[in-house]
Symmetry: D2
Subunit: 344 residues, 4 copies
Amino acid sequence: MTESRPLVLIADPSPRTVPMIFDAVQWARLNAVARVRVHDEQHRLPAAELEAALAEAAAIIGQIDLPAGRLEQCRNLRTIFNVEGNFLPNVDYDYCFRHGIRVLNISPVYALPVAELALGMAISSARNLAAADRAFRDGSERWGGDSNLGCFLLYGARVGIIGLGDIGTALRRLLEPFHCPVQVYDPWLPPSLVREQGCEPVELGQLLRTSQVIFVVAGVTAGNIGFLGRAELELVAPGSVVLLLSRAAIVDFDAFRELAAAGRFRAGTDVFPEEPIAADDPIRRIDGMILSGHRAGGPASVYQDIGQMVNDDLELVLRGLPPRVCKRAEPETVKQMRGKPVAC
Amino acid sequence: MTESRPLVLIADPSPRTVPMIFDAVQWARLNAVARVRVHDEQHRLPAAELEAALAEAAAIIGQIDLPAGRLEQCRNLRTIFNVEGNFLPNVDYDYCFRHGIRVLNISPVYALPVAELALGMAISSARNLAAADRAFRDGSERWGGDSNLGCFLLYGARVGIIGLGDIGTALRRLLEPFHCPVQVYDPWLPPSLVREQGCEPVELGQLLRTSQVIFVVAGVTAGNIGFLGRAELELVAPGSVVLLLSRAAIVDFDAFRELAAAGRFRAGTDVFPEEPIAADDPIRRIDGMILSGHRAGGPASVYQDIGQMVNDDLELVLRGLPPRVCKRAEPETVKQMRGKPVAC
Amino acid sequence: MTESRPLVLIADPSPRTVPMIFDAVQWARLNAVARVRVHDEQHRLPAAELEAALAEAAAIIGQIDLPAGRLEQCRNLRTIFNVEGNFLPNVDYDYCFRHGIRVLNISPVYALPVAELALGMAISSARNLAAADRAFRDGSERWGGDSNLGCFLLYGARVGIIGLGDIGTALRRLLEPFHCPVQVYDPWLPPSLVREQGCEPVELGQLLRTSQVIFVVAGVTAGNIGFLGRAELELVAPGSVVLLLSRAAIVDFDAFRELAAAGRFRAGTDVFPEEPIAADDPIRRIDGMILSGHRAGGPASVYQDIGQMVNDDLELVLRGLPPRVCKRAEPETVKQMRGKPVAC
Amino acid sequence: MTESRPLVLIADPSPRTVPMIFDAVQWARLNAVARVRVHDEQHRLPAAELEAALAEAAAIIGQIDLPAGRLEQCRNLRTIFNVEGNFLPNVDYDYCFRHGIRVLNISPVYALPVAELALGMAISSARNLAAADRAFRDGSERWGGDSNLGCFLLYGARVGIIGLGDIGTALRRLLEPFHCPVQVYDPWLPPSLVREQGCEPVELGQLLRTSQVIFVVAGVTAGNIGFLGRAELELVAPGSVVLLLSRAAIVDFDAFRELAAAGRFRAGTDVFPEEPIAADDPIRRIDGMILSGHRAGGPASVYQDIGQMVNDDLELVLRGLPPRVCKRAEPETVKQMRGKPVAC
């Protein structure tokens, strides 16, 4: 009877490892519905075995190269899971769309950790928390009313969210009890879905000019590199807060750094054009800036949720149902979404 | 017709000033329902005028001394507003209770600003945000996964709130979207009201032992000075976060500092036994500690809400209705609540 | 040691009985903190024993007559619980206020049951649910689109709440996911508290003219009898829904019935000027009317919560703390609030 | 320049008409992004013009037959909108999946109206609202406590939802403030998504045995006809409420009627095996039953939202983005979902 379990091939899951994403519970759950073969850095399958596994596999978990030629050999394949978090160019997506193979990634797992850090940065910036703490270190702290000059409450502040995808949506939920009027710029969404989240769809310029806290949480696509240029950043109202959480490539980073250094706005960033940044990068000395080294995706415990997400959708697909939990590659957009992982 | 407006005496509002708490809108609103006389640091009334005003006033706003002897002269008095935020010993409360004079303070205005800063500290501590930022300043920052060692998500973490008063309640609302199981220790509240806020009422020991983030937001009373002693603080689980937002007097501060310095838990505090703290206070050098100089009460804009609160309740009282917005002095507890302002 | 438990006297709790309001758990809880004596319809105490119990009691639960002369004998009395739900004229309230005796009632227990029935009536009226069901009984029902003529969704409808007390507040919470703009008329509340519940404070006329569903949930006071007169009811927009849940005395009931009979608005009521109503009352034949026989207060299971409320506050008061759960008699208003119970 | 607008063909939208689903605003919006041709009952295009329009159309709105042969002529087609609410067999879905043509329907528009009626039925059943109203009509009504025998509060009651699709999800949101523990049976959903909505995923048997209010809101598929058979319905706890809102075909309707008639449970239904039902159908005489003639989909105003949904997704698709608002035909399930409209 167990012979009837379909084969699942875990192939090149790096930078994840099997134990990183499947805890004991999820590993048992996976093995209950499938026979599992692993082809990773520690255990490379011989070429023939790999080919045989590909030919038989109902699902592939990992970032192994899957050009059309190889996909044609995959006679049972129904779904492919990217467990790193991006739709990388390792898969021939058109082939998959034509043949009803679901290509999925686990990027939604990062949405909440990133949103949480974004909120922490927002409160810290609006209330000057990190800088006030630094001042204690050299004895320059101020007390009481004085120490709150230039501060404002996040509660009730005008918020702008650039990109209402997974991260933006998670962030919007965390902001709920702050009763902020929230403006959203997201050209991929119809106004009705923005309003459904209690936000106001606006043009980018209005958002930049009128928001006290601006969250940049849009993904990078072929079409939006550098769309937050110097001209756009100069629209930001003095004393506002600009937080960059998703990808450095969508912003003119030099302009971002210079305007923050000049005190035009307070800022924070978790991403940089090159990581790590140079030891003498002047961004390190900007007082009104919170710096975070590409760590918003969260602690390793977050990875444990990847296994659950994969199992959730794998079980559905094996039962002949559509996946519901992971992000789907969509024919219209998959080739536009490229870039570095949100978290490594 | 306007002669029929009752008299309101603003007397010794210090450390507030009239323009600090009444903006133009609220000042006009106040003057629409009352004749207003001011006796403050800038404009002292002559003794006879002050006595006459006290004798006629339907309401007193401020912290002027009101012993029984003087209250007996206040023939029309219905309410007294403390606009600093504490029930100070300037009023003979028993006299007021016997004579149906409502004594009120505006401390609820600080609840949300303090709760917001507490949440910011919590995310910063759980995710190591302030310390990671400091590391960038001297080039010692870490990147990606490494940088998240010892971190955890606030989302879903086990939270303990010590004191579910105005601050604790405001904090609980901000925590709502984090889906944390929340334990509460508050001996002033029946279990049903704790549960109504979606929290679990527990004993102090259990809260300390099992919470990953502990918010100390209880007010200080005659009976609870130092109730978080060394023995209690040693119950805190290693790696947890302890945040002190209300009053330093309720905690054994030396033990708090020593355990944080030893890395037993991460911590943050906005209050200190003496403020400002000494230039060589070792707390300044603790890495896993966020320091804030009694600034949780928020920026000056918060004070503007005081005028609205006072007007809200003043209008009710003048119309023969009970106050609803400010905190009421209660016969059972008013003499137990003493101390320094939450914010100055 | 148990001798030190204070005495609690249950005296004339009718129309409640002890087992009706104290289940086994709450009865045990009560007896754990107090010695209990009962003076009710089944077990009358001899006069001398009653006097002795009154003299010693720290708390009285029930509606026994407590004029000043008797209260003067109550040397230990700290609190009185009305377990029927109104501040009846059985107590000399002024005496209690002067002497710091807390007089409480358990009316908040009815808020949720009434609010729930109100919501059910609102959906039924807006969607024509009860009438459509009646039509099936005589074969006159309509199907599909036709059957929805004159109907509207409660979701998103303009709602008016008259009286944002306990019932109104409970109702507003139940309406939260319906995303209705909610207007409130409540002269006892400052605008800020109305806004805090996400509602817009408005004048009565505007509410009546512009709301699609009007909930009348105000209590009756000395000052508001008949305040919803014929002229006010005629302001209601054609096709709207008017639901009367609290007290018949605040509305001109003849006008209410006539306008509903004429089809000017749809309506529902749980209360009537005389109960039960006459067999030939024409209200029985109005098609667009939902009728309910003073049953909004809910099933008997609701009474079980009374014991918990009493214990919650009794424990606080016995520990020297202010009550938090029951409704307090307030000097400003207690004499205005008179009337029949919301539920019997 | 306007010549570059793509062509949209509205073809056989019946039972909808163009003005029924596009109000002036949405019609203008549609015409701003597309040239529109209409082929409906009033205005049939000549065959040649229809063929030409099909050949050019970027989108088709309506239920016109689209077998593979015809689809092959549609050289520009990117999306097809069913505006009735079901994935009917008029489209060769496989062809569309292979060629990246998005087939969509507007069924989500009905979710909220159905959920709202379901909630109204639930309160009415739990609190006996419709039956109590009927009793007034013949003078048999009861008053006060008596009238609440057998009733229970929906607030806090154990709820079971069978099918957590669009309707179930909308219903779950409306139930939020009722603080009900909610069990869900939905074999199409992974447990994590059920838990994300604050519900407990359970087996059907447990749900039926332990829920006080059971909402049957599952769609009908090839595989679930009659899955609520007599044996399952007999598991329902005495005195519980069973509400049937989606499709009659998933329940053994005879058993449902008989058990309700026998008083085993209270019930309500908006759907029937044959509609309209016979004049002498005994279901008409069941006292503990609320009857509704396939009217849960709501008043005609609901149809106005269809135009907005279509425009939302049309604009996305025309801009090369995936649809986000309408329901997508999924290769795995489209052929399983067949049946009568939820609302006509």
